[in-house]
């Protein structure tokens, strides 16, 4: 009987712990985004043809040339990509080197996009079947990765870049540059 009683109080304690866990998780903001498993790892090997005549294509070797970069995954057909264009431009003005992968896009559309919304990119690779996007662990557009000089992904930003994100990304880029 004593043992029964003890185990019953244990059960009560367990239930309370469960309720506390529920309360904790309810009170925390829910993060629906799935972080890429590649953060902290090397960019997978790829080599993409140019997405538009004015820019060279993009390969994984370009991401390991010693300089940290932002890798922007976008599409000319994607509305949030248009919304984040001014922020990318701001990042470029503050010294960020930005390369891009255009997803399921046509050269004339990419050219039109760059003309209307600005061109912060040094390279744009064409990913016709989302193969590189998937191998990066990116689940949608737009997404922006911070890649250090050795080609290792140090940070992933999911969704469009808002004004408050600019400073965060610059900071991540600086940390990637110093190897901190």
């Amino acid at each position: 009987m004593r043992r029964l009683r003890l185990s019953l109080w244990l059960l009560v304690a367990l239930a309370l712990a469960l309720f506390a866990l529920f309360a904790l998780q309810l009170s925390r903001p829910k993060n629906e985004f799935v972080q890429s498993a590649l953060v902290g790892k090397r960019v997978p090997d790829f080599a993409l043809a140019p997405a538009v005549e004015s820019h060279p294509g993009l390969s994984s070797a370009d991401l390991a040339d010693g300089r940290p970069k932002l890798l922007n995954v976008f599409g000319s057909w994607c509305i949030p990509c248009r919304a984040e264009a001014p922020q990318l431009e701001a990042l470029r003005r503050q010294g960020a080197e930005i390369v891009a992968v255009a997803i399921r896009d046509r050269p004339e559309d990419v050219a039109g996009f760059l003309q209307v919304y600005g061109d912060p990119f040094t390279r744009i690779g064409a990913d016709q079947i989302s193969a590189v996007q998937l191998s990066l662990g990116s689940s949608g557009v737009p997404e922006t990765f911070v890649v250090d000089g050795a080609g290792i992904i140090t940070h992933q930003h999911i969704g469009d870049i808002r004004e408050r994100d600019v400073a965060i990304l610059l900071d991540e880029l600086r940390r990637a540059g110093t190897g901190a």
């Binding site: 029964l4 009683r5 019953l8 309810l26 829910k30």
Partner: protein
């Protein structure tokens, strides 16, 4: 006006519920307290008021009264009437009102008809029932008022989530709710018995029909939900171990265990504390299930039901009721006298194994469902799926099935192995033969192989109790047990066969092309746009030939709804006795070629046939039990009348013969 009437009825019902609680407390504390006479009428009137409130909600939905916020948010004047009505409970507020109404009806029914338990226990039970209702009334009136007005009223409503515009789904949530509410009644009985320490076989007999009813609804709800996910989501699976599916499975597991332990208590006066415990656990699982679905704390396919603020409210109710009941249980458990003892090899022994196995599976499912939540608290995101649930659950499920095949053959209290030797050998022998034969022919994986072998064994074992009995005179509850257990075998066979023999093809096909999957040849004859009342679709018209036979026509669709905008997949199902061909059409991939996904699923339909059989067995048992109760009540009344006659006549005619 109608909406205000509904709201007023709801407030009155809540007030009566408070009165019922206070009167019940007074009645339990002081025997013969005059105010206790109010408890039963209060419960009965509450049932009436809640029925009025729910009818009012149905009325505003049927007439698409867009000045009611809930109607504007969930309905649309173009919808077919059945989906307008389904819209009344196809949303948070309405479904909560449905919950409260069913709970009030159940409370009213108990208050009016149930006279078998000591009055003090009944008062405690009805008090517990009103305490639970009161929380739900508060939830409804303070945070989810279904009758809230919208000013100005919009010209048109938002419509109902297209995934839910489906006849099967119109009835899936209410079915589960009936189950949950039935378990709340069992919970109230358990708390009532615990308060007065009257855990008797009579208590188990009174509680059993409610558990049985809840269990039938849960079985049907899970079966229907599984079939809905199968044909509506277009993924070809029938169970995903999704948190919300688990949320409906866990109360079912607890209710199944409770059903069996209540039988032991009713027949043999054993397992007293355990039955009470299961009564508390079963309702806890319903509440946790509701919490998981409504709070959105876990990511799931049921994301349409989510609202974190309401989650906190349900969590508070959860903590009060479950925490409170567990504390009461811990305080009282050792004052409940120990029940009768029994030998390990006996009907009770087998039922204890069943209970332990079901509780273990329940624990496994609960742990797997909540584990991601636990790791997330430490910022680690994991998802738990079939690789965990299937083998770990099977460790307990498969042995339980062996006991299921043999247990019903055993006698109560004590049995000897020699008496049942031949039946046990027949059951195990059949399992062995089937195992060997299937393995030699097909070499499928271990789990499905064991599943098929045990399905055969359980099918045989479930029928053995019929042997040597006069089938015409067999009591209905025994028929119920036989059919339910046979249904388990049928469903198990369907699950095992589908996972072992399923064939899948994913192709891009244009008009005129033929795709082979399993024994089927599927030819695309046309791909055309088509339209329904509130959607447009691309339809693939196809001809399917089984094994070179005459082709049958079917047309899977990729549908686009516009209010609210959403895409759904309308799959084509071609059913044969030995399985189902499942075809879903996806996007256009290149010029004029469309993504097609085809599965040949041998015997998959047996899963749902089995589910329906299990529920049918429950229905027979319920009818048998209730009819038995009514007969007994009539007999008691007869005896009382005779006694009264004797007293009037002034001399004893005869002793009661019953």
């Amino acid at each position: 006006m109608i909406a205000e009437l509904g709201l007023a009825a709801l407030w009155l019902a809540a007030a009566l519920s408070a009165l019922q609680l206070l009167a019940a407390i007074a009645g339990v504390r002081a025997q013969g307290s005059a105010i206790a006479a109010l408890v039963r009428p209060a419960a009965a009137v509450q049932a009436l008021l809640c029925a009025i409130a729910f009818l009012a909600l149905l009325y505003v939905f049927a007439s698409t009264d867009l000045s009611v916020a809930l109607v504007a948010a969930n309905s649309h004047s173009d919808k077919p009437l059945i989906f307008k009505l389904a819209g009344a409970w196809g949303n948070h507020e309405g479904s909560m009102l449905l919950w409260v109404s069913v709970m009030a009806l159940a409370g009213g029914l108990i208050a009016i008809v149930e006279r078998r338990l000591p009055e003090r226990t009944m008062l405690a039970t009805l008090g517990a029932q009103s305490f639970v209702s009161l929380g739900f009334y508060a939830f409804l009136l303070f945070s989810s008022n279904p009758f809230e007005r919208l000013d100005p009223a919009p010209l048109q409503g938002n419509g109902l989530n297209p995934l839910l515009q489906d006849i099967g789904l119109a009835f899936h949530p209410p079915t589960l709710y009936f189950g949950y509410v039935g378990l709340s009644v069992a919970f109230s009985f358990a708390v009532g018995a615990l308060v007065t320490r009257q855990v008797t076989p009579e208590f188990a007999r009174v509680m059993r029909p409610w558990v049985l009813g809840a269990w039938i609804f849960l079985t049907l709800g899970i079966t229907a939900g599984s079939f809905w996910a199968y044909y509506e989501l277009g993924w070809g699976g029938w169970w995903f171990w999704d948190p919300v599916e688990n949320a409906s499975l866990m109360p079912w597991l607890a209710a199944t265990a409770l059903l069996h332990s209540a039988s032991v208590l009713a027949a043999r006066d054993a397992l007293r504390t355990w039955t009470i415990m299961l009564g508390v656990v079963a309702f806890s699982m319903s509440m946790i299930g509701t919490f998981l679905v409504r709070s959105g704390i876990l990511t799931s396919v049921h994301a349409f039901a989510v609202d974190p603020e309401r989650g906190s409210f349900i969590l508070a109710l959860l903590a009060i009721y479950i925490g409170g009941a567990l504390v009461l249980f811990a305080l009282r458990a050792n004052t409940v006298a120990e029940g009768e003892r029994f030998a390990l090899l006996s009907r009770e022994g087998a039922l204890v194994v069943n209970n332990v196995a079901l509780s273990s599976i329940l624990g496994i499912v609960l742990l797997g469902t909540l584990y991601p939540l636990l790791t997330e608290a430490f910022d680690l995101r994991v998802s738990v799926g079939p690789p965990y649930f299937n083998p770990v659950g099977a460790m307990f499920f498969l042995p339980m099935l062996v006991v299921l095949a043999i247990g019903p053959l055993l006698r109560w209290r004590r049995d000897s192995f020699a008496r049942v030797r031949w039946q046990v050998l027949a059951v195990l022998g059949l399992a062995g033969v089937v195992l060997l034969a299937v393995w030699l022919v097909t070499q499928i994986k271990l789990l499905p192989l064991l599943g098929i072998a045990l399905a055969a064994a359980v099918a045989l074992g479930s029928l053995l109790p019929l042997r040597g009995r006069d089938l015409g005179r067999l009591p209905l509850p025994v028929w119920g047990m036989v059919i339910s257990h046979f249904g388990i075998a049928v469903a198990l066979f369907g699950m095992a066969a589908d996972s072992a023999f399923q064939e899948e093809r994913l192709v891009a096909a244009g008009v005129g092309e033929t795709v082979a999957v399993g024994p089927w040849q599927a030819r695309v004859t046309a791909i055309v746009p088509t339209a329904g009342p509130n959607w447009t679709a691309m339809e693939a018209q196809m001809a399917f030939a089984y094994d070179g036979g005459a082709p049958r026509l079917a047309a899977p669709q990729a549908r686009q709804f516009w209010s609210p905008p959403q895409e759904t997949s309308e799959v084509a199902l071609i059913t044969r006795w030995n399985g189902q061909l499942y075809v879903a059409v996806g996007n256009e991939v290149e010029n004029e070629r469309w993504q097609l996904r085809l599965w040949w699923k041998p015997f998959v339909t047996f899963i749902w046939y089995g589910g329906v059989l299990i529920a049918l067995g429950g229905v027979l048992a319920l009818i048998g039990r209730v009819a038995g109760d009514l007969r007994r009540r009539a007999a008691v009344r007869l005896i009382e009348e005779r006694r009264a006659d004797e007293a009037n006549a002034g001399f004893p005619l005869a002793r009661d013969r019953a």
